[in-house]
Every structure is written in C-alpha cells, then in structure tokens.
C-alpha cells in the first residue's frame, strides 16, 4: 500500500493534466488512509478519507473543472529547475532516510504499543487537549473570515 | 558650598544647551530663517560663556573628574550617564564651545536654503561633539561618537557642493567602518572585564584597570585605532577628508577641521592608548611611522593641490600627524604639545576654512589659479589670511608654533635615548617629521603667493563691481580666532597647566604594563 502511495505520488509530479494529478493525489491519500487503518488508527484513516478526499480534493477537482484553463501547447510541464530539484530531492530523501536508519531511538524498533481507541482519543482531545480544540475553532473562524475576505477581493477585482 | 552643587549642573547645561536650542528652533523658528540663526547664535554664545566659566573654575591642581555627574542609565549593562571634565577634555570642550558661535556666525549669510534645519543640525552636532568630549563612560562616548555622523552627513549632503552626495557618503561610510570595529572591540573589552572582575562597567576609570594579555590588547587596540585613525585621519585612511572638506559648506568644514578631527586624536589619548598600554607601546613604531608619513604625505599633497579647500584639507592631515607624534612620544612635553596642537589646529583650520568660505561666497570658485593679488583688492581679508597662514605654518607667537614645537620636542626627547640604546627609528622619524615644518611653509606660502600676490584677479570681480572686503561680522569672527591664535601662541602656560595632570596620568597609564601576570596571551 505504501508502494502504491509512493508511486501515485510520483505520478502526481509526472502527470500533465491537473485532473490526473488530482486523481493521483487522491490515490495517495486513500492509500495513506489504508495504512492508517492497518496501523490501527482507524478514526484517522476515516478522517483522512472524509476530510481530504471527501472535502479538499473534491473542492480541488471542482476548481480544476471550473477553470479548465488550456495551457498553450508545447508549454513545458516542468520548470527549469527539474534537474537540480530532483537531485536535491534525492539528497533529501537520502538524508532523511539515513537519519532514520542510523537513529538509535528505541521507538523505531520497539514493538509498538497497542493502538488506542477513538474513545481514548476523544477523551484526550477534550481533556488534555481541550485548548487545541478551542483554538481550532478560533482558527476556523479566522479561516472563514479570511476566505470570505479573499473572495470579496476577487469579486471586487473582477467587478 | 554652592559651587559644589552648581558645578555639575553647569557642565550638564553646557552639554545640553544645544538641545534646548534645537527645541527652540523647532518650536519657534521652523519657518523663520532669521530667528533660527539668532537662536542658534544665542545658544552657542551662552554655551561658550558657560564653558569659559568652566574653564576658569577648573582646578588644575585637582586630579580626577571635576563637575562630574553620574547617573545610572542602563543599569543592566553597567552603563551610566557619567560626564565630567578633566585635563584631557577641558581645552577641547572650550574649543568646541568657542567654535560654536563662530560656525553659526560664519554661516550667517552663506547658508540660504533650509536654514532652520541647518541650524538644528549644527546644534545637534555641537551637542554630540560636546558629549563625546565630556563622556566618561565608554558606552556614552560611543553613542556621541556615532551621533556626530548623522548631522555631518546632512550638513555636507544638503548644503555642500556639486559632488556633495559622493563626499558625504564617503565620509560616513569610511567613518562608520571604523566605528563598527570599535564597537566590536568595546563589547569584547567590557565583556572580558566582566569575566575577569565580575563587574560590568563602561566607566573609563574602571576600564583603565582591566588587565588583558598582549595579544588581546593588540587586536582591541587595532580596532580602536582603526576607528580613531580614520577620524584623525592618518594616512592611508585619509581619502575621505579632502572630498568631505571640498564639498562641505564652510560651516561644515569648520566643524570638521575644528573639532571633528580632534575626536580621533582625543580618542587615542583618552581611550586607545591608555586602555591597551602594552599594545600601544608595542605598536608605537608602526603608529609613529604612520604619523610621520601623514605629516609628510599630507604636506606633499597640499603642495600640488589646485583646489584651495583641498590644500587646507591636506594640511590638516599633516598637522594632526604632529598630534599623534606628540602623543606617541610619551614624553610630558610631547603630550602637552599634542594637546595644544589639537586646539591650535582647531582654531587655525577653522580660520582658514572661514577665510576660504568668505572668498567662495564672493567669487564662487575654489580654483587657486583663478585668484591673484587679493592683497591689493581685499587688504583686511589678506591680513587675516596671512595671520592664519602663518599660524598654520607654525610661526612662533602663534598657536601653531606652540603645538608643533612642543610635540616635536617631545618626539625628539623620546627619540634620543632610544638612539643611544641603538634604536634609531624614532630618531629618524622625528627628524623626518621636522621636515614637515619646511613643507608646511612651502604649501601654505604657495597658497598665499598665488592667492594674495601678483596681478589682481578673481572670479566675479570687475573694476565696476569690485569685491567687497570683509564685513563687520566677518571681521569679528576672524578677530576672535586671531585673538585665540595669539593667546595660545604667546601665553600657553595657563592652558598647559590645566592639562598637565591629565598628560601625566596619560603618561603613567600608557607606560604601566597591564598584562595579567603569568598569562602568555590568548587570542579571542
């Protein structure tokens, strides 16, 4: 599943049409959701599918369809930084990988605790992490105002 | 005992008066040129009067600070508002205050645009210069030291000549470079003092106690010296000066030559050498060589200039070389000579720049070749010109002689025993420095020759509209300076007595080793 996630992620970068990219991303996300499920964190898996695939990507796909901007033919897919970018990418993966593999943190090799339940999670969220819950709501309010403001601007710019 | 309470107040008043002036100009005379001038002149005059009182009340026999004020300022860093008079600064304070009204009066008619701002800047500059002299706390000193840049930047840049922007940027960037390194050194110095003694203090008196290994002293002195040497300026760090002088308005040149350059030598005397005595002594040959090179180099270049302001600018380089020479001699007579030479150069260069400014106001040209025979045309002007030329040459009875004579004598007095010990460098240097006396006569008389003598010629002069000789205002300014020139030339004793203890303390500070015992020296 991880492999599929990775491959579709790579496809994202290779596909020309935004729609296909979106589909590849959805695949990756779904695969990740699957991994979460396998790891036993089911509710996160559910959120992953619901929020990401269900909300964000749908929105994204909608916009892609809405815009339908035809790029000029012969327009390169990639920026001119492809080669250095890929090189840096390889280096980054390598560095991160080495960091992980050469790490002595016991968490990496420990058998892994039993997955916690949604109940535990909810309890923690509403007790220990109550503040985050609150803040998230503030954040969402702000985000809504911001989005509205941006839309207002676009409308003004349009009109 | 009212004197004891009045004293510190008086010095504070002298220091802060220009700021009062700034406030007055900003409040009352933002759009009133005449009033701005009057306020500035009045403030400067009062300041000079008060400074004179300080001078008279200054007790030449008392060691330590007088009229001192100490208030905690940035307690966290051990910075305090610590000002006071001592033998080091008393003359320079008086000089600064003396030139204040002269600058304002000298600029009375020649500054025509943005007059209130000009006077604000002059007053701010006056404040900063005064502050740098009276500050007895390194942080405070640095503050004032840097604060001088800004008004000068504007004075040259706004009221200067054609290439004023280039000149003023050069001036500031040059000076700021030195200051930045000095700042690093200041931080390091205070920090290491704190680490060794546990005390965080910027007070000069405390810093004079620090013990530092020679290597550290060397680096720190290098940073301080760079900053001061740029200000002095010592060859090869001098190229900002001619440009700045040439482009600056007369008032700017007067302040620059009169006071600002003294900051460098004062810095060496008050900070550079006494703070790092071992390095100072180790590097005396180098610095002395540079001082002598400055003397000769400045003189040689003054000899071939065609711009009248540049002649004086290069002559300043030469003249301040004597100051450095005197300071480095570590002989009482040399140190005293250096101090007098500082003041003397302040007066004489101010006079010369004023004279040049006066002719520039009339003829709008600084080209030496365009002038001739002014002695016939402007006799009074020429008399003053001659007086200041001769003072610059160092003719006896003028202040220039007192300074040069004593400074050179100091250098020689120090050089001779070294020669007997087999070290001939100081002797060679002192002898070369004496040739500056000849070169000085050469360039100044070349100037005077072309300028004053021969057939009458001057731009904007015609028999129908002859140039006007000096006005009463101009005469009085120059008259005042002339009095100062002769006072210091004929009766320097009073001034010398005021500085004697300081010179002695400088001597003992620099000649006493202050490396920590048993330390081989660790580079930072």
């Amino acid at each position: 599943m991880g492999a599929i996630a990775l491959v579709s992620a790579v496809l994202m970068l290779v596909m020309r049409e935004p729609m296909r990219v979106a589909l590849a991303l959805i695949t990756t996300m779904v695969m990740l959701g699957g991994i979460y499920g396998l790891l036993g964190v089911h509710f996160i898996a559910a959120f992953q599918v619901l929020i990401y695939v269900g909300a964000v990507m749908v929105f994204m796909v909608y916009v892609i369809m809405l815009l339908e901007v035809r790029e000029a033919p012969g327009n390169a897919r990639y920026s001119r930084w492809l080669v250095p970018g890929v090189t840096a990418f390889a280096a980054l993966v390598g560095v991160l990988g080495i960091s992980v593999y050469r790490s002595s943190a016991e968490v990496l090799t420990a058998p892994g605790a039993s997955a916690f339940s949604l109940t535990q999670f909810s309890a923690a969220f509403l007790s220990e992490y109550w503040l985050e819950f609150e803040l998230t709501s503030v954040f969402l309010v702000a985000a809504i105002v911001a989005a509205l403001a941006v839309i207002k601007v676009s409308r003004r710019a349009h009109g | 005992m009212s004197e004891f309470t009045m004293g510190p107040m008086l010095l504070n008043l002298v220091l802060w008066l220009p700021i009062v002036g700034v406030a007055l100009v900003l409040l009352l005379a933002r759009a009133n040129d005449g009033l701005a001038r009057t306020i500035a002149a009045a403030v400067m005059t009062v300041q000079f009067a008060l400074a004179t009182v300080l001078y008279l009340q200054f007790d030449a026999t008392a060691a330590g600070l007088q009229f001192a004020t100490q208030l905690p300022w940035i307690a966290q860093w051990g910075v305090s508002y610590l000002i006071g008079l001592d033998g080091f600064n008393i003359l320079l304070v008086v000089l600064t205050a003396f030139l204040g009204p002269i600058v304002v009066l000298g600029a009375w008619t020649s500054i025509k645009k943005d007059v209130p701002l000009f006077h604000v800047m002059v007053l701010v500059l006056q404040f900063a210069m005064m502050g740098a002299f009276v500050a007895q706390d390194l942080f405070l000193f640095y503050l004032f030291w840097e604060a001088m840049l800004i008004p000068m930047f504007l004075i040259i840049g706004m009221w200067g000549g054609a290439r004023r922007v280039y000149a003023t940027l050069k001036f500031v960037l040059y000076t700021a470079f030195g200051s930045i390194l000095m700042l690093a050194a200041v931080i390091y110095l205070v920090q290491s003092m704190q680490q060794s003694s546990g005390v965080m203090s910027f007070a000069f008196a405390d810093l004079y106690q620090t013990q530092l290994p020679l290597s550290v002293q060397t680096i720190l002195l290098g940073a301080f010296a760079l900053s001061f040497a740029i200000k002095v300026p010592m060859v090869p760090l001098h190229t900002w000066l001619p440009d700045a002088h040439v482009e600056a308005p007369t008032a700017g040149s007067v302040i620059l030559a009169g006071v600002l350059l003294k900051m460098g030598t004062y810095g060496f005397m008050k900070l550079g050498f006494p703070l790092f005595p071992d390095a100072a002594r180790a590097f005396t040959p180098l610095l002395m060589t540079l001082a002598v090179i400055s003397i000769v180099y400045g003189a040689c270049l003054a000899l071939v200039q065609t711009d009248i302001k540049k002649i004086i600018a290069y002559s300043s380089i030469s003249h301040l070389g004597y100051v450095m020479l005197g300071l480095l001699s570590l002989e009482l007579v040399g140190i005293q000579g250096a101090i007098i030479q500082m003041v003397s150069h302040g007066i004489v260069a101010a006079g010369l720049f004023l004279l040049v400014g006066m002719i520039y106001d009339r003829c709008h040209s600084r080209e030496l070749a365009e002038y001739g025979g002014l002695a016939r045309l402007l006799p009074v002007y020429s008399v003053f010109f001659m007086i200041f030329t001769l003072a610059s040459v160092g003719l006896p009875t003028t202040s220039g002689f007192t300074g040069e004579f004593l400074a050179l004598m100091g250098a020689f007095t120090a050089a001779w025993p070294a020669h007997l010990d087999g070290n001939n460098l100081p002797l060679v240097l002192a002898s070369v420095a004496v040739t500056g006396v000849v070169l000085g006569a050469m360039y100044m008389l070349r100037f005077a020759l072309t300028f004053l003598f021969g057939a009458v010629k001057a731009p904007h002069h015609s028999p129908d509209h002859p140039l006007l000789d000096l006005s009463l205002r101009e005469k009085s300014i120059l008259g005042l300076l002339t009095i100062a020139v002769f006072a210091l030339g004929l009766f320097p004793d009073g001034a010398l007595q005021k500085t004697e203890l300081a010179a002695k303390s400088y001597q003992s500070l620099v000649t006493t080793s202050r490396t920590p015992a048993g330390s081989a020296g660790v580079t930072p």
Binding site: - | L301, L332, L408, F412, V437, L496
Partner: protein, 633 residues
C-alpha cells in the same frame, strides 16, 4: 626701569601695531604718510636711546649680565620655558647695532619711500622686523631667540615681497622664507637635543654646562648640536648651501636690503654661533665645518659678484661673501672678531646699500650698472659716502673693514682652534676679489662717461637730506668703526683663540699682504674699467665659459630646481596624488564599493520572482543544513 630690555623690544612692536592698524586703515593721505614716518621712526629711535641706557646700566654693573624675566611661557613637568631677556656684552653690541642702524634706516626710508602707496605698511613691517630682531638678540632662552629668528624671517618675507603686485617679488620673499625654514628645521633639531640634555633652553645655562663639561652635556655630542644649529645659521646667514635666497631678496625696497639683508638679520647666524660659543668650543669638528663652509661661501660669492651687473646683486653677493668671512672667523674660534666684522659690515654695507638706494632713487628705479656711469658729479654726496664705504669693505687701511677683515685673516691663518694657511689663502684671494668687484661697482656707477638714457639723465637728482644725512653718518662710521675694539671688549666674555706660537711672527707680513691685496684690487678695477669699454669686454670674451658660469651664479638655482623642487612636485603629484591617493587608496575603495554594487545586482538577479527557485532554495537549504548537522557526529 625694571623692564628696560622688554621695553626696547616692545617699542617697535607698538610702532608696528600703530602703523599696522591706523596708517594702513587711513589710506595714503600725505599727512598720514608724515605721521606714519614719524611714528615708525620714533619708536626705533626710542629703542636706541633705551639701549644706550641699558648699556650704561650694564657698564655700571661691571658688565655683569643683566637677566630680566618677563613671564613664563610654559611650565612642563619640571622644565620651565621662561620669556626672559639677557643683556651682556654680546647682546649689547648687537642691540646697539640693530637699534642704531635700524633707526637711521628708518629715517632714510622716510625719504626713500616717499610717495609709495603703501608707506604705512612699509613702516609697520620695518618696525615688526626690529621687534623680532631685538627679541633675537635679547632673548635669554633659545626659545625667545627662535621666536625672533623666525619672526625676522617673516618680516623679511613681507618686505621682500613688499611690492607684491609683481609676482617675482613675492616669489623672492617666499624663497627666502622657505630656504630659511630649511635652516630652521636644523635649528629646531639642535634645540631639541639641547632640551633633551638640559631640560632648559636658557643659553647661558647651556653654554656654561658645556664649558664645564657637566654630565648632561655628555648626553648629546656637542658637534652634532653645533652642526644642527649651524644648519640654522646657514639659512639665516646665507651660507652654502642655503645662500640662494639672499640675492633674490634684493627684490625688496633698498632700505630693507640695507637693514635686513646686510646689516642685521643675516648676521643672526653669526650672533647665534657666537652666543652658543660654549658648544662650539667643545666641538672642534663642527667648528672646522663652519670655517670651511664660511671660506667657501666667501670665495664663491665673491666670484659671482665679479660679473654681476645689477647694483644690488653685486652688493648682495658681497654680503654673502662677507658673511662667509664672519663664519670663517667663527670657525676658527675668533667669535669676537666675527662680531667685530658684523658691526663694521653693518656700517659699510648699510652705507653701500643706502647709497645704492640713493642711486636708484636718483635714476628712477634703474639698477643696471651698465646703464649708469658718471654720476659722481650729479650726486656727489652719494658718491663720496659710497666711495668711503667701498674703500672700507675693500680693506683700504684705516677704514673699518680693514681692521675687522684683517683680524679674520689673521685668525684664519694662525688660530690654534682650527686656523690653517689654506683658509687664509682662500680668504686673502676673496679679499682681493672683494676689492676688485667693489671698485668695479664704484667705477661703473660713478666714474667715466654716462651710459644713461637722456630721459633718465635729465631727472637725476640728489636725494633729500633724510637720505643723504644718513649716508654721511654711516660713511663716518664706516670710516671710523674700526677703532671700536670690539674683540677686546668681548674678550672678557668670549675669549679669543690662542695663536699657534710658531706662526706668531707672520702677523706683520700678513698685514702687509692684505694691504697690498686691497690696493691690487683697486688697481685692477681701475685698470679694467677706468679705460675703454673694450678692455673688460675682451677679458670677458677670453674667459667666456667662466664668465657664463659666474654670471649664471654657478647655476645653483637651476640645480636646486632640478634636484629638489621639480622632483618633489613630481613625487607629490604623480606618485602620491595620482598613484597613491587616487589610484591605490580611492581606487581600491571605489573598487570595493563597486564590488558591493555588483554583488547587489547579482543578488537582485538571483531573486528571479520564480516560486520554483524559491522552493528549490528551501529544499537545498534543508538538505544542506541536515548534511551540515552531521558534521558534529
């Protein structure tokens, strides 16, 4: 009077200030000219009177030196610089000469400068000169002496360039000042050494310290000090190599040449050396140098004087030559004799210059002796005084110059302190030439037929009484001045050198030789210039290269120009200004500035606006930072 000496010096200063402020300010009104003249002359005369009083005081005190402190100039540490006056036999003589000759020349000037548009200024300068000259001779400390020393240089500068509308005059003044400054640099060094050794600059202290050989004196070698001071003297007293300014100094008004460049100022070097005789007595090497320089100067200047055609130039080179005689005397230890010659020289050379002035005055400014002749009958008073002075300088027996010059020759020959026959030989030859060129001058100017243009001839007139009176007075002194036995008067203070015993018996022989030489010079001159004009012309043609060399003054000016002045200017302009200042220093700074500018441009171009690039930078940054962080593993 407690401050007699100070008053002597200060009186002319008052005159200077008065004339400087008022006479100049009031313009050139006739009445003012009168006032300026009276004031300008009154103060020197008063000073002269006071000097006589001071002299009488000195005498009354058994010639014990009078010390008169005025005030303390500076106290540094333990060494005090006092402004004090010192009056002993030596300064008494000098002061009398300065104020005396000075006074008469002031009087003379009232006539000579009559009608000049800067009459008041002239007297102001002249008074200023006297003030400084009196400081010079009266000062107790070398400091005061130096003040006067440089001060007279200033006055000389101002007076040479008095008619500054002509730039050459001003240039001559500048040359004098700068050349003197070179000497002064040496003087300063000498002074510094003395200060180092003694912590004081009081000359009496220094002299006695040297004479007694106390510890401090051993710190500095007397020869070095002596030579350095002598460098100063060569400047002021126009000796080789610094004599070049004096001939040019003739650009000044003639009374100035008489007073400053003949009678007083130029003898300051002689005075200094005599004053510091304590050092020189301990410095035989330095004395040797002085003697040689003196005799060489005397000789070369005399050769140049042989062919000069400007009346004042002849006198100028003659002055240089006579000063050489004085230094010769100093060099062989005959300080009193040198001073004696200073005095007699002051008389006859002042008389000659003033006479020349009278001639020039009469001829409306003409100075070329080739355009004179036959003036004897037209201005007889001038002629006779001039003739007496010429005879005096030529060493015609009985006149002032004869006595002093003869003593110099004698000591040059026989002094145990460096006398040598070859010195005498050179000096005697110079004496011969002196007699020759002086009589040549006399003949060409006054005798024979007139070579003047008609217009000039028509206007020739005898000078007013203010001038001729002075001439007569000075002629009188030139004639009789030799009978004042100055060397013996001074001997109590500065002993004359011992005579080498084996040479003592030559004294009379040499006396005769010098008498013969004087008349030989006279005869030669009369022979050459008393006859037809072709005679000197023929000799000139026969010795053309030498003539050219001499009339070109050995091309020393040109040499200095090429070797010192031009290279200095080149060095300053090309090496320092263009090479170092502009190219190296400013160039590297501007280079740095433009480097910063270019870097700025580069950085600006790196900011392409492309988000891709920015992200790439982020990625590279992350990779780089992570990799770098491994460095510490």
């Amino acid at each position: 009077m407690p401050h007699t000496l100070a008053l002597i010096a200060l009186l002319p200063l008052v005159g200077f200030l008065f004339n400087g402020f008022f006479a100049t300010a009031l313009g050139r009104h006739r009445a003012n000219e009168r006032a300026a003249g009276i004031i300008g002359s009154a103060f020197p005369i008063a000073a002269f009177a006071l000097t006589i009083k001071a002299f009488l005081d000195l005498q009354a005190g058994g010639f014990a030196p009078i010390v008169e402190p005025l005030y303390r100039w500076a106290l540094i540490g333990t060494s005090s610089f006092e402004i004090a006056f010192y009056f002993d036999r030596l300064s008494a003589i000098m002061t009398l000469v300065v104020t005396g000759v000075g006074s008469v020349i002031h009087i003379y000037s009232t006539g000579y400068m009559h009608g000049d548009k800067s009459f008041g200024r002239f007297f102001a300068y002249l008074n200023l000169f006297l003030f400084f000259m009196l400081l010079l001779v009266l000062g107790r400390s070398m400091l005061v002496l130096f003040v006067g020393w440089e001060g007279v240089g200033l006055a000389s500068y101002l007076l040479i360039g008095f008619w500054f509308d002509d730039l050459t005059n001003a240039k001559a003044g500048r040359k004098a000042f700068i050349t003197n400054r070179i000497g002064d640099a040496g003087f300063l060094l000498g002074m510094f050494l003395l200060y180092r050794a003694f912590g004081t600059l009081d000359m009496d202290t220094i002299n006695s310290a040297f004479l007694s050989g106390t510890g401090a004196a051993l710190l500095v070698p007397a020869s070095l000090v002596g030579l350095l001071l002598f460098v100063g003297a060569t400047g002021k007293s126009a000796q080789i190599p610094l004599y070049v300014w004096l001939p040019d100094a003739m650009a000044g008004p003639t009374p100035v040449s008489a007073l400053i460049h003949a009678a007083t100022m130029v003898t300051a070097g002689v005075y200094l050396t005599a004053r510091m005789s304590g050092i020189y007595m301990m410095a035989p090497e330095a004395s040797q140098v002085i003697a040689i320089v003196g005799v060489l100067t005397a000789f070369f200047a005399a050769t140049v004087a042989l062919v000069q055609t400007d009346i004042k130039k002849v006198l100028a080179y003659s002055t240089v030559s006579q000063l050489g005689f004085m230094f010769l005397a100093l060099g062989v230890g005959a300080y009193g004799v040198a001073i004696f010659h200073v005095v007699t020289h002051a008389f006859f050379k002042a008389c000659l210059f003033l006479g020349a002035g009278s001639v020039i005055h009469a001829l409306g400014g003409e100075q070329d002796i080739r355009k004179m002749g036959g003036l004897r009958s037209k201005i007889p008073l001038t002629f006779w005084t001039f003739a007496i002075a010429t005879a005096a300088i030529a060493g015609i027996p009985g006149l002032a110059g004869f006595f002093s010059k003869d003593e110099i020759l004698w000591y040059a020959f026989a002094s145990a302190k460096g006398g040598a026959p070859w010195l005498w030989g050179m000096a005697a030859l110079t004496a011969l030439m002196t007699a020759f060129y002086m009589f040549r001058l006399l003949w060409l100017t006054f005798m024979g037929a007139s070579r003047m243009s008609h217009e000039v001839e028509h206007h020739v007139h005898e000078s007013p009484i203010s001038m001729t009176g002075v001439l007569m007075l000075l002629a009188l002194l030139s004639a009789g001045g030799g009978y004042i036995a100055i060397p013996h008067f001074l001997e109590a203070q500065i002993p004359l050198p011992p005579i080498v015993e084996s040479l003592e018996h030559y004294e009379h022989t040499l006396l005769y030789v010098s008498i013969v030489l004087a008349f030989a010079g006279l005869g030669l001159a009369v022979f050459m210039f008393g006859g037809p004009a072709s005679r000197p012309e023929g000799i000139k043609q026969a010795m053309l290269p030498i003539h050219r060399l001499l009339s070109g003054k050995y091309f020393v000016d040109e040499l200095y120009e090429r070797v010192i002045v031009k290279p200095l200017a080149w060095f300053s302009e090309v090496v320092l200004l263009r090479g170092s200042d502009k190219m190296l220093l400013d160039g590297s700074l501007n280079g740095l500035a433009s480097l910063a500018q270019r870097t700025a441009g580069l950085l600006g171009r790196a900011q392409t606006g492309s988000l891709h690039l920015y992200a790439l930078l982020v990625m590279v940054g992350i990779v780089g930072a992570l990799l770098w962080s491994w460095r510490h593993v």
